[in-house]
């Protein structure tokens, strides 16, 4: 594994500020993550835990009400937060690309597939219409669209959902980006198509050596697809590290609860395990750990102070007062970062 990460987020915070400035929603709060080339990072969490905002922050395509209030985003050695909008525009699509939540609606109904797949190439590389068209055809072949010659001339309404999905994938990789962010790309697909698509993403990733950030709430997909995992809760990364380690021994009670709530065929339990309570209001976070009110193991300290990130030597982190023993063999090397 190369030492310099492709993308490194340090203490990144994005807040939504209401028009009067009276309400501040901490959608992404003090997030530090890193991803290396060729790796897949899964980001899981409940709805509203800040996953999508994090993705939009990385691409810097936030809605006007959002502010990136602090942190650094190092991408290929450059801080993306220092870049002007024009410079960011050159990064988007070319060096990092994104697949949106609803790929079914991601295609403009008025243009042919070839036109749209080639758009990015024409925008970034100044390619001619004909070159872009040829590239589009190759890309359709790459995402396994049958008879690309015909398909490239067709309109989005002539495609099935799975095909449109793959076309959106083709647009994503059209300029051979280093990083691809997929924001719940499979939620609108049925299971067989989902499996096909995930396999395709994996293959593309291996073929192009790209880093993949996979945002989902499906832990099954994470187990299959990802090398690294970050669990988000109330805008914070409560636990991160290699997928297999986290699945075997979760260090944060929230991760543990999430893993326990996956229904299994072998279970003889009659009821599904749920996590009691509601996620907190992001504009009025409790003073201590934001998961404490729902945590079965919470004690006094949890309600008074938010736990700092505990980092183990092998790269696992957890934001829990009880994390140190769970992080295992390297517990003695635990370092405390400055508290928030």
């Amino acid at each position: 594994m190369p030492n310099a990460p492709l993308l490194e987020l340090e203490n990144l915070s994005t807040h939504y500020v209401s028009a009067q400035g009276t309400r501040v929603v901490r959608a992404v709060d003090d997030v530090s993550l890193r991803i290396h080339a060729g790796e897949t990072l899964g980001i899981v969490g409940e709805s509203g835990s800040g996953k999508s905002t994090l993705a939009l922050t990385i691409m810097r395509v936030l809605p006007p009400a959002a502010r990136i209030v602090s942190g650094r985003m190092m991408f290929e050695g450059e801080d993306l937060l220092q870049k002007s909008d024009e410079e960011m525009q050159k990064v988007r699509g070319r060096r990092m690309a994104m697949i949106l939540q609803d790929p079914m609606a991601s295609l403009n109904p008025l243009f042919t597939i070839g036109n749209q797949v080639g758009e990015s190439i024409r925008a970034h590389e100044g390619a001619s219409r004909a070159t872009a068209w040829n590239r589009a055809r190759e890309l359709l072949k790459a995402v396994r669209i049958p008879s690309p010659e015909t398909r490239v001339r067709q309109y989005p309404h002539e495609m099935s959902g799975g095909m449109r999905q793959r076309i959106v994938g083709a647009i994503g990789i059209s300029c051979e980006p280093r990083l691809l962010i997929a924001d719940e790309p499979t939620t609108s697909l049925d299971l067989t198509i989902q499996a096909q698509y995930l396999k395709l993403l994996r293959d593309l990733q291996q073929a192009h050596g790209l880093a993949l950030i996979f945002i989902t709430h499906n832990l099954g997909i994470v187990a299959k697809m990802c090398d690294q995992l970050a669990v988000m809760y109330a805008g914070r990364v409560v636990e991160s590290g290699p997928v297999s380690r986290i699945f075997n021994a979760p260090a944060h009670p929230y991760t543990e609860a999430l893993l326990n709530s996956i229904p299994r065929m072998s279970d003889d339990r009659q009821r599904l395990t749920a996590i009691d309570g509601q996620p907190p209001d992001l504009s009025r976070l409790p003073p201590g750990c934001s998961f404490a009110p729902r945590c079965t193991r919470a004690f006094d300290q949890c309600f008074q102070a938010a736990p700092p990130a505990t980092v183990s030597e092998e790269g696992r982190t957890a934001r829990c007062w009880l994390a140190a023993p769970a992080l295992g063999a390297t517990a003695e090397t635990v370092l405390h970062r400055e508290a928030v």
């Binding site: 525009q89 949106l100 609606a105 991601s106 403009n108 758009e119 990015s120 049958p146 067709q154």
Partner: protein
């Protein structure tokens, strides 16, 4: 998924003009379309169709009635006016004035209004505020009075009228188009274009504009009637198309004194022409609006 099976199930490509078949479905306003096409035809071939010069009359033949009245002749089918000019010829050339003024003014207003509407809606922020406050101010002015005011400043000429009507009516486009853009810019394909690194201008040109053209066309058809009426009104009031040129509104104005003494043909014929053209444009515009609006079509 086998490739051969896929090819077999591919539907044959529908023709580029398949939408015309779709449009024909119900209630196509045939008569208004025929009237508009007829007026357009007359306007284009006015030189060939008109029996006389519309701007030169013979004073010996003043106030001739239409041919079926006593004193009328087949030489002047619809009679002559106070200067002995053939009414039919003037109506034919008047169609040209109405068509040219109507279509170019609608295009002018449409291009200005659509551009500003897209910019306002897509960019938002202070640009949006500026353009929309300007539109509000504009809409608060009484359109006709404003047009008369402008016409009085600019002086009478056909092309001045086109520009004046464009300046008066662009706000309607700006409003409607901005509303469309506001919902359009939240659509997923616009977001995809943003994350694919397209510039704002590319997105407006490639993703927003083609999707609002429908609305602009419908609005344009509906505006055609308004613009023609306004042109006729301005000409009637003497600040429109200058006198030797044959405009329908001008003919109405010229004929109004002799209406009381029974020379009805000087006002009835141009009045009917204006009414037919405006009515046709409105009916066609209404039909197009229903046809091109998917929400109304589903009902």
């Amino acid at each position: 998924m086998s490739t051969s099976a896929e090819i077999l199930t591919l539907p044959s490509r529908p023709s580029r003009f398949a939408f015309i078949r779709g449009l024909r479905l119900s209630g196509f306003p045939l008569i208004p379309t025929v009237i508009l096409v007829g007026i357009a035809f007359v306007a284009v071939f006015a030189n060939q169709l008109a029996p006389h010069n519309p701007e030169v009359g013979s004073l010996a033949a003043r106030f001739k009635p239409p041919f079926w009245e006593t004193g009328g002749s087949m030489k002047y089918l619809l009679g002559t006016d106070q200067l002995g000019r053939d009414v039919l010829s003037r109506l034919i050339f008047g169609a040209r004035v109405s068509m040219v003024v109507g279509i170019t003014a609608v295009l002018f207003a449409g291009i200005v209004g659509t551009t500003l509407g897209i910019i306002s809606g897509y960019l938002g922020g202070w640009v949006d505020q500026l353009i929309m406050r300007l539109t509000d101010t504009w809409l608060a002015l009484p359109a006709l009075t404003f047009a008369i005011f402008l016409a009085a400043i600019a002086g009478p000429s056909m092309w001045n009228i086109v520009i004046i009507l464009g300046i008066t009516y662009w706000t309607r486009y700006a409003r409607v188009i901005r509303g469309e853009v506001l919902s359009l810019k939240e659509r997923e394909f616009v977001r995809l274009a943003i994350v694919a690194g397209c510039s704002k201008w590319t997105i407006m040109r490639r993703h927003i504009l083609p999707n609002v053209i429908n609305s602009a066309v419908v609005l344009g058809t509906l505006m055609l009637g308004v613009v023609i009426i306004t042109e006729a009104t301005l000409s009637f009031l003497g600040v429109g198309v200058p006198p030797p040129q044959p405009a329908w509104g001008l003919m109405l104005s010229d004929g109004k004194q002799s209406l009381m003494v029974g020379r009805w043909w000087l006002t009835i014929f141009p009045g009917c022409c204006i009414m037919l053209m405006v009515l046709s444009a409105n009916i066609l515009g209404d039909w197009l609006r229903v046809k091109l609006d998917p929400q109304l079509r589903q009902l």
